[in-house]
């Protein structure tokens, strides 16, 4: 479980996060919905410890993340996987080497065992046999799927997705959504997805939080989000459902 409390962050005097409070429950898919510049990515980078807040608290399984030294922070990160917006694959490595990277770094598995695990994860994301390819040879959707395979390979308890469907065509968006749902069902991971794609959010989310100007303005189960009366949430949802 991830508990974020009164999180504040400013860049060059400009407040980006203003007292964020959020509970992310174990084994569920939580989508954080918001417009560009609302602070979604900054919030996600705080959850994984890539950014340090000005004030506030982030607790992961009852362990405080804020102020933690590099080594213990790395220990916590081993339980996380993250899929980046542009996949962030290592372009000097093949697909197989990319997916194997966390295993090589953190386990004592033999090359044969690593190869087997990599093939299994690539199969889950529908890319079986793509090990020898380089990231430059892949489409955007394929890169994201390799990114997911890499995020899942250490079998983390929590996976973070940074705008997983941005820039994808509707069909690939649908496939990526299915992949996120499948991964969550099969591996029982906690998923945190930041997105501005309402349709995708409604397809994959168990819970939805809406972030606006650095604060959470709605936080409820996905089925109840349409009932929100907050003007910003209404405007956001109207872009998908159309104004009444």
């Amino acid at each position: 479980m991830i508990v974020i409390d009164a999180l504040h962050k400013s860049f060059a005097g400009k407040p980006i996060l203003r007292g964020i409070r959020l509970h992310i429950r174990r084994g569920r898919t939580r989508v954080i919905l918001g417009a560009s510049g609302s602070g979604k990515t900054v919030l996600m980078k705080h959850i994984i410890g890539l950014l340090r807040p000005d004030s506030g608290s982030i607790r992961v399984n009852d362990q405080e993340l804020v102020g933690l030294a590099r080594r213990p922070l790395q220990e916590i990160r081993r339980h996380f996987g993250m899929v980046f917006q542009q996949a962030a694959l290592f372009d000097s490595m093949t697909v197989g080497e990319n997916v194997a990277f966390p295993l090589v770094e953190h386990t004592t598995m033999t090359p044969v065992e690593i190869g087997r695990r990599v093939a299994e994860k690539l199969d889950i994301v529908g890319l079986a046999g793509c090990e020898p390819m380089f990231p430059a040879e892949l489409s955007g959707g394929m890169r994201k799927r390799v990114g997911l395979a890499r995020a899942l390979v250490l079998e983390p308890t929590c996976v973070l997705y940074d705008e997983p469907t941005t820039g994808l065509d509707p069909l690939t968006t649908y496939n990526v959504d299915q992949m996120i749902r499948d991964a969550q069902r099969r591996l029982q991971v906690t998923s945190v997805v930041i997105s501005h794609d309402v349709g995708s959010a409604l397809r994959i989310a168990d819970d939805i939080a809406v972030i606006h100007e650095g604060t959470i303005v709605a936080d409820c189960p996905a089925a109840e989000i349409r009932a929100s009366q907050h003007p910003h949430v209404r405007r956001f949802l109207d872009t998908w459902f159309g104004a009444a």
Binding site: Q74, R77, R78, F80, F84, Q86, F90, P102, E105, R150
Partner: protein, 277 residues
Amino acid sequence: MAQAPAPRGLWRGWTAAQASLIQLGEQALRFFSAVGAMAQFFARTAVAAVRPPYRFGLLLHQAEFVGVGSLFIVILTGTFTGAVFTLQSMTALERVGMESLVGAMVLISVARELGPVLTALMVTGRVGSAMATELGTMRVTEQIDAMEVMAVDPVNYLVVPRMIACAAMVPLLALVFLFVAFAGGYAVAVGVMGIDEGAYLARIEWTLDPYDFYHGALKSIVFGAVLALVGCYKGYHAEGGARGVGRATTQAVVIGSIAIFVLDYVVTSVLLLWEPV
């Protein structure tokens, strides 16, 4: 509301001077904060270098890239430096009738000064820029963030092997530079200018001291570490997409080259203090 009158006369001159002073102070602050940040980065790299995991595979890969990859350009530069330096020195030494000293003079200069400095400059242009570009691209495409998220220390993985490889390979390249400069100088002095081979070699043997080599090697180690530090630092902290990577690459070469010249003076002064007379 009425506007304040523009400053005139002596007061106007004073505000202009104040503005210049403030600008100068800001530039000085920026310079010292950049030096401080680089020192911090070096300290972090030094700590990461002594802590496991030790990445011998990556180190060998980098050593091959720095050493073998730079061999051709160093051989080319060294040969022609030795040849031209011999040609120029002969003109000067002929005036005082000491032509046979040309080999010793060229080799001492190359071993102590030209070899380490020119080798480091060549490696900065080829390797320092490549490091800044590679790490800069990794930074702006979030590959370095991905590494951190996967609980892998990017400094340990990316910077340490590059810095050790440069500190180890630049002295070896400087040694190669010295050998080919000797060959170039020998060809010009003995083959073209007709200096007696025996006198040429005897003067070298008589004049050259092992300390000349140590002096050059120590400087090369420092230059190698610094050019890698600057290249990695600039790349690691690149921001702003392709333009930012381009800026990082340019800065890596410019700052790396300036650092080599400044450190050359500093390290030479320190080494001369301990040099046996």
